[in-house]
């Protein structure tokens, strides 16, 4: 019987992606480092600077000067950095000439992760043995518990970078659980040093906006400044104490600068809210924007300045009233295919 054998006329395509990311040999990296150093000296000569004391900032400046680029993305512009920063760190060959691997857990696949687990478990066993010894001698000292408030465990990505290996979420959570278990025991000093390697500081997130203290000018009058913005208008306001409610904008009285009642009401709102309408003098400067946005900018600036004159409770009231919040609304961009930002072209049935 005849069997039909299927053949393809096209040659079997080489699967380019199957071998993984490109692997760089050690000689290749060394050659790159030599070329980088030579190039650095050439650059220094070209720019007329001393080749010995040519820093990375100098290189960046030289490249920006010699190869000007109008590309927006900084990462797309030409760079010249040390090869260790460009080529990602890779594992070198894990076995010697006779073929025997260097690490004893090589055949597991994830050698660094499992050796880390092994070491951590060993510390755990040591601590338990130490505890048993103390219990046998009837000396149970309460070791100080380490303060975990300002620290967090390593993230999975940081651990991957440390081990130079891919981890799964399961592996990572197991490792963190083991570390937490180790923490719960009354630890010894050596274990603390080992655990510190896996802790990172968390910067304090609560940042209360510091209210500036009152300043005094030559006449002895208390004053304070505030800055505000709305749309494209930028304003600064200086609020003086012991005043009579006069307000000046760019050297012009508000009655002449803002003919419309609505704008003057906006300016008065912070003072009216705090009940200090006729008590403060204000001198403002404003630029940019239109009539309404300038008014809003000066309102925000004077409210910020008034914080220094007023108790914390009233500051909280002002915040809740929305006097201290920057208004993020700006003009929305017009899109192609539409008449405006939202308005579409007239729809015609036929």
């Amino acid at each position: 019987t005849l069997r039909l054998i299927y053949t393809t006329t096209a040659v079997q395509r080489k699967n380019v992606g199957a071998s993984g990311p490109e692997k760089y040999t050690e000689e290749f990296i060394k050659k790159q480092i030599e070329e980088f150093n030579l190039g650095k000296r050439h650059l220094a000569n070209m720019m007329g600077e001393d080749p010995e004391t040519f820093t990375q900032e100098g290189i960046d400046r030289a490249i920006a000067y010699l190869f000007p680029s109008g590309l927006f993305d900084k990462r797309a512009r030409p760079i010249m950095k040390h090869p260790s920063e460009i080529f990602p760190e890779q594992r070198k060959i894990q076995w010697g000439e006779d073929g025997r691997p260097f690490h004893f857990l090589f055949y597991t696949g994830k050698q660094s992760y499992y050796s880390l687990m092994h070491e951590t478990y060993e510390k755990f066993l040591n601590v338990q043995r130490y505890q048993d010894q103390l219990a046998a001698q009837d000396l149970p000292p309460q070791k100080e518990k380490k303060n975990l408030a300002g620290s967090r465990w390593l993230t999975k990505i940081e651990l991957e970078e440390m081990l130079l290996e891919k981890l799964s979420d399961d592996d990572y959570s197991r490792f963190i659980q083991l570390l937490q278990k180790l923490m719960t025991l009354p630890c010894g000093d050596t274990e603390e040093k080992y655990i510190e390697k896996f802790l990172r500081e968390v910067p304090a997130q609560l940042k209360k906006v510091a209210i500036e203290p009152l300043k005094y000018d030559e006449r002895g009058v208390a004053f304070s400044t505030g800055e505000g913005a709305r749309k494209t208008a930028r304003a600064t306001a200086v609020v003086y104490d012991n005043g009579s409610g006069k307000m000046t904008v760019n050297g012009i009285d508000i009655l002449h600068y803002f003919p419309v009642l609505q704008d003057r009401e906006q300016l008065l709102f912070p003072f009216q809210f705090l009940g200090r309408v006729g008590k403060h003098d204000t001198v403002c400067t404003v630029s940019g924007g239109g009539r309404s946005s300038q008014a809003g900018a000066i309102r925000l600036a004077s409210a910020k300045a008034l914080r220094s004159f007023v108790t914390e409770k009233e500051v909280e009231f002002m915040r809740q009233a929305g006097l201290l919040t920057y208004d993020p609304r700006v003009k929305e961009r017009k899109k192609p295919g539409q008449e405006g930002a939202r308005r579409k072209f007239t729809w015609k049935k036929r």
């Binding site: 006779d98 073929g99 691997p101």
Partner: protein, 216 residues
């Protein structure tokens, strides 16, 4: 060089492994205790001495013989600079097995066995990997009480295996089975100690013979 390799093969017990253990040691380490009658595997019946109150007792005379053959074989492999891989999937003894392997200078795998580690080694490791020349199973079952995948893979890749088989294990594909208990801590510590001593002895012997050969 040829004499270096062929000389140990002329003696039945070149490394004198018989003196490392005795019947009393095995009994004290509770190696003879097996699982209950219901867990008994059919192919383990030749190795079982008897059954007492439903618990199987393993025949220690046969264990002695098998252990002597297995230790002799590991010693020869270590003498010829082979790679030995200790495998065990028992969580209690994972740390013990890994430390034993590290102290011998050999390798261990007591974690989850990924699919093609032996059969698809090129993809996992690289092109020029050297596979282990001997697999030592200190517990031949995995966590689901099924035969460890590595037994089948080693048989596929023509890698000899030494394994401690308990009464619920399948001794078929293992080249040098050692019927014995794999659950007690004392038994496991005894096995680890024996393997470590054999490997270290064999390596020392090799170094001595190399020095002697060089002097000539």
């Amino acid at each position: 060089d040829d004499k270096l390799l062929s000389e140990p093969l002329n003696h039945p017990d070149f490394f004198n492994v018989k003196e490392l253990f005795s019947l009393k040691d095995l009994f004290d380490a509770r190696v003879h205790l097996g699982h209950k009658k219901g867990c008994r595997h059919r192919f383990m019946e030749p190795y079982i001495f008897g059954c007492r109150l439903d618990q199987d007792i393993i025949d220690l005379d046969q264990t002695m013989q098998h252990l002597q053959l297995a230790l002799n074989f590991t010693a020869h492999v270590a003498y010829r600079k082979g790679i030995i891989l200790f495998v065990s999937r028992k969580r209690q003894f994972c740390h013990l097995v890994e430390s034993t392997a590290r102290e011998c200078g050999e390798y261990a795998h007591t974690r989850y066995w990924q699919g093609g580690l032996l059969t698809n080694a090129r993809v996992h490791f690289g092109s020029g990997v050297r596979l282990p020349d001997l697999l030592v199973f200190l517990s031949s079952l995995n966590n689901i009480f099924e035969p460890h995948v590595a037994i089948r893979d080693a048989a596929k890749m023509n890698i000899p295996t030494v394994g401690v088989v308990d009464t619920n294990c399948n001794p078929c594909l293992i080249t040098y089975p050692i019927p014995g208990n794999d659950d007690s801590p004392t038994a496991m510590e005894l096995y680890c100690k024996l393997f470590k001593m054999t490997v270290i002895r064999a390596k020392d012997k090799r170094r001595q013979n190399e020095v002697v050969a060089e002097l000539r």
